[in-house]
């Protein structure tokens, strides 16, 4: 039993931290949120060159065979830097879906090269956090399929070259069977998108599928068996988001400590006030517990035991939700009025943590998942 990072993991962390410290952060975010795609293609290219886009894929697939812990090393650094590039959607989610479905190592190769951006359109307006609540339908059309429906809040759904969508090939809206995954081109006829910025400075889109025709090869994995893949994608994404949140919380704590040591009120630095000191001690403890649970998720998300995996991933999401809320809200509070401004970085980290709390199910949702697994 050994819970320390390997030398390789330390190197990966250092290189990722160097990258985000040099390129990312709140200033970059304010610049990028005014741009068309909301992130930098040049950075994406660099990330490919650094090998990061290859990390979770097997050596057969041209990847590096990294574990979930390795991915989390990267994600923690990305969280520290408010990195905007679509690593989560393309590599973790899109790549994860391709890996789980099998048969499309060609596309994985393109991801690794940095030539393919993916988005996974799993949510629907009525579904909230239930992956199986799918009203979008795909009906047979010769060898291929015709897809109709509305996919909601697809992260990076505007810039993605291809989109993996869940659609129902049989059963009723909330059946767990009968969900299939399809990969479609951004330019497919009948695919309308409404793109918009999101509160964290990134971008997403509503996708409207109006009789979108796809070929037989658009089906990923077995017909009707898509839910298990979605669940794995969701768990991998949660695991990655937990690490990202840990990185963001670390910055907020550092920033808050620094700010309170310099900001003076009533003739002394506010870091001298015991109430604020204890608040920061609590923030620090929340951070450490979040970090422990992010580790649990990474260590167990690939466990063969479904109860162990569920408890680890949902437990981590619960902890991240609570800790992120506390650390984020208190960071704003301790920055006072300045914490409310767009100018300081603290609000941007706070907003990202608020979004992470909701993504793939909030605290309530995962407490219920956790209890159901017991």
């Amino acid at each position: 039993m050994d819970l320390s990072y390997s030398d390789e993991q330390v190197m990966l962390r250092d290189s990722a931290e160097r990258f985000v410290d040099a390129n990312c952060g709140a200033d970059n975010l304010r610049k990028m949120r005014a741009s068309e795609e909301g992130f930098s293609r040049a950075y994406w290219k660099q990330m490919a060159e650094l090998g990061w886009l290859a990390l979770p894929f097997t050596e057969d697939q041209g990847g590096l065979g990294g574990t979930a812990v390795d991915t989390n090393v990267l994600m923690e650094a990305f969280g520290r830097g408010l990195l905007l590039e679509p690593f989560l959607t393309t590599v973790v989610m899109g790549g994860g879906a391709l890996k789980a479905a099998g048969g499309r190592d060609d596309l994985i190769g393109e991801i690794i090269e940095g030539n393919l951006l993916l988005a996974v359109a799993y949510a629907e307006p009525q579904a909230r956090f239930d992956l199986f609540d799918v009203a979008t339908t795909a009906r047979k059309d010769g060898d291929g399929w015709i897809i109709d429906g509305h996919k909601a809040v697809v992260l990076h759904g505007d810039s993605a070259d291809r989109i993996i969508i869940s659609a129902r090939t049989s059963g009723d809206r909330r059946d767990k069977d009968g969900i299939s995954l399809f990969i479609i081109d951004r330019g497919a006829a009948g695919l309308e998108r409404r793109a918009y910025p999101t509160v964290d400075g990134s971008r997403a889109a509503e996708l409207f599928l109006n009789s979108v025709k796809v070929g037989a090869d658009a089906l990923l994995g077995d017909e009707g068996m898509g839910l298990a893949i979605l669940e794995k994608v969701s768990d991998d994404a949660i695991t990655a988001l937990c690490a990202e949140a840990v990185g963001a919380m670390k910055v907020l704590l550092d920033t808050t400590v620094e700010y309170t040591k310099t900001r003076e009120q009533f003739g002394q630095p506010i870091a001298k006030f015991q109430v604020l000191r204890h608040r920061m001690a609590d923030m620090m403890m929340e951070y450490e517990q979040a970090k422990s649970m992010a580790l649990v998720a990474a260590l167990k998300v690939d466990s063969a035991d479904p109860v162990e995996r569920r408890k680890a991933v949902s437990g981590a999401k619960v902890q991240i939700g609570k800790s992120g809320r506390f650390v984020g809200q208190q960071a704003v509070q301790l920055h006072g009025g300045m914490g409310m401004t767009d100018e300081l970085s603290v609000g941007h980290y706070f907003k990202r943590l608020t979004m992470i709390d909701i993504l793939f199910g909030n605290v309530d949702h995962h407490l219920k998942q956790f209890s159901a697994a017991a």
Binding site: R33, A34, A123, P125, Q126, A127, R128, F129, D130, A152, V153, R174, R194, Y196, P197, T198, V199, D200, A204, E206, R263, E264, Q265, F266, F273, V275, L276, Q329, V332, Q333, G336, G337, G339, M340, T341, D342, E343, G347, H348, F350, K351, T354, M355, I358, N362, D364, L367, K368
Partner: protein, 398 residues
């Protein structure tokens, strides 16, 4: 001890309710129900309607234009306004500088300013906070130096809500810095069109432009715009802060918001049922409603003249803490209704002239907007930490 209203009070309640239904403009009502914020043009329109009716300043003495209501009538009025979804008009003129002027101002000041406040002709903002002063308000540094019949004002104010929309600003300025910091402060009324004033917007985390910095460079202010006596402004400032805290609980508005939450959560799918019926959400909703009942009856007790048992005089401090915590937890209930649709967010793009409908359900955008803005409520007006300091000081010294 009696909760009930007299027949006259019930008649008054019915009158207010009927008038509101008739006169609060339907388009504004629709915006409020959709969680949209009202800006100056909308608010000014509503102010003129209320002013014409004579209901614009419930607490003002009759001689200055108030309606001459009893405290219970004022309570009923505020409650009915809120339940009808009518957003409060900005407090700076009507609830803050107005009472200061009719209490401490001279006859000329009263005659000039009060009617213009009531009519909305003058829109006011508040120059209290300064960069660096934070919760330590009395540490302010903006200086007013006597020069014949004028003061020359230099300095900067921050977090000035609505400065970009305002005609006048009431300012705390330092006219003497030899004594302790609460002394030597004066209360000045300054025309925002005076040369040397610069307003610089501060964009906050919800993307909105509400607050500003206001810079004063050799701004010449006639001494006739000094309220009361030079160097005694702290007295008027404290009077105003107490006024500001009256009604801080905003019980009526919170009831209205809770109704919206309940309605929307009952119309929101979850787990094959309704969000409002999910045990976790249902529990938080009930907890919120209990907290609101406690807030309401605490306010009623205090309005009846009761003091807190252990720290008399800190009622407003207590209400500020309880009300802002409640407001923040209500905004979290809203976020939960919106779910993924709390993400779409165009607050940082210019919305003016856009006719695009919101992404997702109409109320979703307002959820994140209010949640983010609401984080300020525990900071401004004396942070909740300061409120607890004040309470503890009284609690531990008597």
């Amino acid at each position: 001890m009696d909760l009930s209203f007299t027949p006259e009070e019930i008649a008054f309640q019915n009158e207010v309710r009927a008038w509101m239904a008739e006169n609060f403009p339907a388009d504004l009502r629709a915006k409020v129900e959709a969680g949209e914020k009202l800006y100056k043009p909308d608010l000014l329109r509503w102010q003129k309607i209320l002013a014409a009716k004579g209901w614009i300043a419930p607490a003002w003495p009759v001689e200055y234009g108030g309606p001459g209501w009893t405290p219970t009538q004022r309570y009923i009025y505020a409650n009915e306004m809120a339940l009808a979804g009518a957003q409060d008009l900005p407090a700076f003129g009507l609830k803050m500088v107005g009472p200061v002027i009719y209490t401490y101002g001279n006859e000329a000041q009263k005659a000039h300013f009060l009617p213009r406040i009531l009519s909305g002709e003058d829109w006011w903002c508040q120059g209290y906070s300064e960069p660096g002063s934070g919760s330590d308000l009395a540490s302010l540094k903006t200086k007013a130096v006597s020069d014949g019949d004028d003061y020359i004002v230099n300095g900067a104010k921050i977090w000035t809500t609505g400065a970009h929309d305002s005609d006048w600003i009431f300012c705390l300025v330092r006219t003497d810095d030899t004594g302790k910091k609460q002394d030597g402060i004066s209360f000045l009324l300054i025309d925002m069109k005076t040369p040397g004033i610069e307003v610089s917007p501060i964009i906050i985390i919800n993307g909105d432009h509400t607050v500003n910095q206001v810079f004063f460079t050799d701004v010449r202010v006639p001494k006739k715009n000094l309220i009361g006596k030079e160097n005694e402004g702290w007295t008027y400032a404290k009077f105003l802060l107490v006024n500001e805290r009256n009604g801080i609980a905003q019980v009526g508005h919170k009831k209205h918001t809770l109704r919206r939450i309940r309605k929307l959560a009952s119309a929101t799918d979850m787990n094959g049922g309704r969000l409002a019926d999910q045990p976790g959400y249902q529990t938080r909703l009930a907890e919120t409603e209990v907290a609101l009942m406690a807030l309401e009856y605490s306010e009623l007790r205090f309005l009846s003249g009761q003091k807190t048992d252990h720290a008399p005089g800190t009622e407003a401090n207590m209400m500020k803490v309880a009300a802002t915590q409640l407001q923040q937890s209500m905004s979290e209930l809203f976020i939960e209704i919106a779910g993924y649709y709390s993400f779409p967010y165009d607050g940082f793009r210019d919305k003016k002239g856009s006719n695009e409908p919101p992404v997702g359900p109409a109320e979703a955008g307002g959820a994140m907007f209010d949640f983010l803005y609401g984080r300020a409520s525990t900071i401004y007006g004396g942070s909740n930490e300061i409120q607890r300091d004040v309470i503890a000081k009284v609690l531990l010294s008597i």
